[in-house]
């Protein structure tokens, strides 16, 4: 479904990603694991067209999407939940959901509120007044409003209380059941391992490991060297 082939991404003159390649197939959750500053978010931003790669190609459903504008990618079926999960602080929960581009009627506000009942109770509250967990749910819900086929989730559990992390994990698994493919970037390896079926490990802008969950679990060296577990 998504295929990233040898991308090189720069911030100004700094070379951040080196020859990063990865794939995500229909209906699977793929983990992109790495330490802080490893290049996880930059990979996400490169795919989403927010920091376009200088070299390499990205295809989605066999069509090239390299360097396409973010809003056009949303219309093609990719949704992105950024790591700083900034919701629109001045808009209500309802309005935050409403401004998303709707590709079709698969997802609507009611369905988002079904998935995250907490949000349904605070529809008219300002985004800026939500707790961290609520903001994260809203950010995921907002992404779902575009009825995506591929969801880019950048560190959804960052800075959340363990109880809320567990809640969120359940909801992400529920999403997989609906057939959405997810590329999940995480520092919190323990949480990610409960969700994903395949693993990429990234460090210093290079993919260091690629394989199934079982391969990863068995590979102590990789875990120790790049993730310090």
């Amino acid at each position: 479904m998504l295929s990233v082939n040898g991308i090189h991404t720069f911030y100004g003159l700094s070379h951040i990603l080196f020859d990063v390649s990865l794939t995500v197939s229909q209906g699977e959750i793929v983990g992109l694991l790495g330490r802080n500053g490893a290049g996880k978010s930059t990979t996400m931003r490169s795919i989403m067209g927010l920091t376009p790669p200088r070299q390499g190609t990205i295809t989605f459903k066999a069509e090239p999407i390299t360097r396409q504008k973010a809003f056009l990618l949303v219309r093609r079926g990719i949704a992105y939940v950024p790591d700083d999960r900034r919701v629109f602080a001045d808009l209500s929960v309802d309005d935050n959901l409403e401004i998303t581009f709707r590709r079709n009627e698969d997802w609507n506000k009611e369905r988002v509120y079904d998935l995250f009942p907490v949000l349904g109770e605070i529809k008219s509250r300002r985004g800026g007044n939500l707790s961290g967990g609520e903001q994260q749910m809203l950010a995921v819900g907002r992404a779902l409003m575009s009825s995506p086929e591929l969801l880019l989730l950048d560190e959804p559990t960052e800075g959340l209380a363990p109880l809320i992390v567990r809640d969120l994990e359940k909801q992400i698994l529920k999403l997989r059941e609906t057939g959405i493919s997810i590329l999940l970037s995480e520092q919190n390896v323990k949480s990610a391992l409960k969700l994903i079926s395949r693993v990429y490990v990234i460090d210093n802008g290079r993919i260091r490991f690629e394989g199934s969950l079982a391969d990863f679990e068995a590979n102590e060296e990789i875990k120790k060297k790049y993730l310090m577990i």
Binding site: F71, Y80, R86, A89, D90, L91, N96, T100
Partner: protein, 319 residues
């Protein structure tokens, strides 16, 4: 969210205010009726700017251009082309919207201050054309004595026309601000990148907002013709843009009706303070400084916050 904030318990304020405004010309002298009409005109211009400035976060520094183009569009259609004033009233706003579309399409590629600077330059170009093209626009002299239909020819007639059109424009703008388009616009103000990531075509949204704002500024320009029967190049000069901007800041640029209040303060200040001293802008400057220091969200922003506090207290602290 920055809103009208006269909902709920205070919603009766709007009809009462409107009825009062309807009755005013019966009790006020012609001068005050004219002054009120002028406040509506300036207020509408300021509110149209606030649509893109306050709600869209777009630094439209030279908004008076569209106000002036609206006025000239109507005045020239009536005096030079000889069409009925009613047609002129339509041509003005449409021309302003068109100019806004052209300027917007060029400027929208840039953001923040760079947008503002390019917009000032392009706006000044329009001003220069109007100022220099003596044979068509009357140059420095402007256009005077634009004839109006009998119905709105008198001071009272023009007042009611201005009041009704302004009210209609406010309702239209309120609906726009409350629509999903309005939410998206505020989302763009908060964070354009994030908006793009949820599928909003940021540049297109901004352009549409600019055209809408240009249109309403054009309406304000037409209303000025109705009230004053004249158009002059100063209506497109950048100092007037600054004045409109100050109205927004003074009244509260994050509130819906703030700019209207700012306009009332500015027009009143200019009228009354200038009878005492020719240095009335000094008074204006001091007031503006005080507002910025003590009421950074403008006068209406402050009042709204106080209302909210009172409401919270009344409901036992529940927000």
């Amino acid at each position: 969210m920055a809103t009208l904030n006269i909902r709920g318990k205070e919603s009766w304020l709007v009809p009462i205010l409107f009825i009062l405004l309807l009755v005013f010309p019966l009790v006020l002298t012609r001068f005050y009726t004219y002054l009120l009409a002028l406040i509506f005109v300036s207020g509408l211009a300021a509110m149209s700017l606030n649509l893109v400035l306050g709600y869209g976060g777009i630094y439209q520094f030279h908004h008076a251009v569209f106000y002036g183009v609206g006025a000239y569009g109507a005045a020239l259609t009536i005096t030079k082309l000889g069409y009925s004033p009613w047609i002129g009233f339509l041509v003005g706003p449409l021309l302003a919207a068109f100019i806004s579309l052209v300027m917007g399409a060029i400027c929208v590629r840039l953001s923040k201050l760079y947008f503002g600077m390019l917009q000032i330059s392009l706006g000044s170009l329009v001003w220069a054309i109007v100022y220099r093209w003596y044979s068509f626009t009357g140059g420095d002299d402007g256009i005077h004595g634009v004839s109006m239909p009998d119905l709105i020819g008198s001071t009272t007639g023009s007042y009611y026309f201005t009041l009704l059109v302004t009210a209609a424009c406010l309702i239209a703008m309120y609906l726009i601000v409350k629509s999903p388009f309005g939410s998206a616009l505020q989302g763009i103000r908060d964070n354009p990148v994030r908006s793009e990531a949820v599928g909003v075509n940021v540049k297109l949204h901004q352009l549409v907002a600019l055209v809408i704002a240009g249109f309403f500024a054009g309406v304000a320009g037409v209303l000025f013709i109705v009230v004053d029967n004249s158009a002059f190049p100063d209506m497109l000069f950048w100092t007037l843009s600054l004045e409109i901007l100050i109205m927004c800041l003074l009244g509260g640029w994050l509130t819906f009706l703030g700019p209207m209040l700012g306009a009332a303060m500015m027009v009143a200040l200019r009228t009354f303070a200038s009878t005492f001293t020719e240095y009335w802008t000094l008074i204006q400057g001091i007031i503006l400084m005080l507002v910025i220091i003590f009421l950074p969200e403008g006068v209406l922003g402050y009042v709204n916050a106080k209302f909210k506090q009172l409401g919270n207290l009344a409901s036992g602290g529940k927000a």
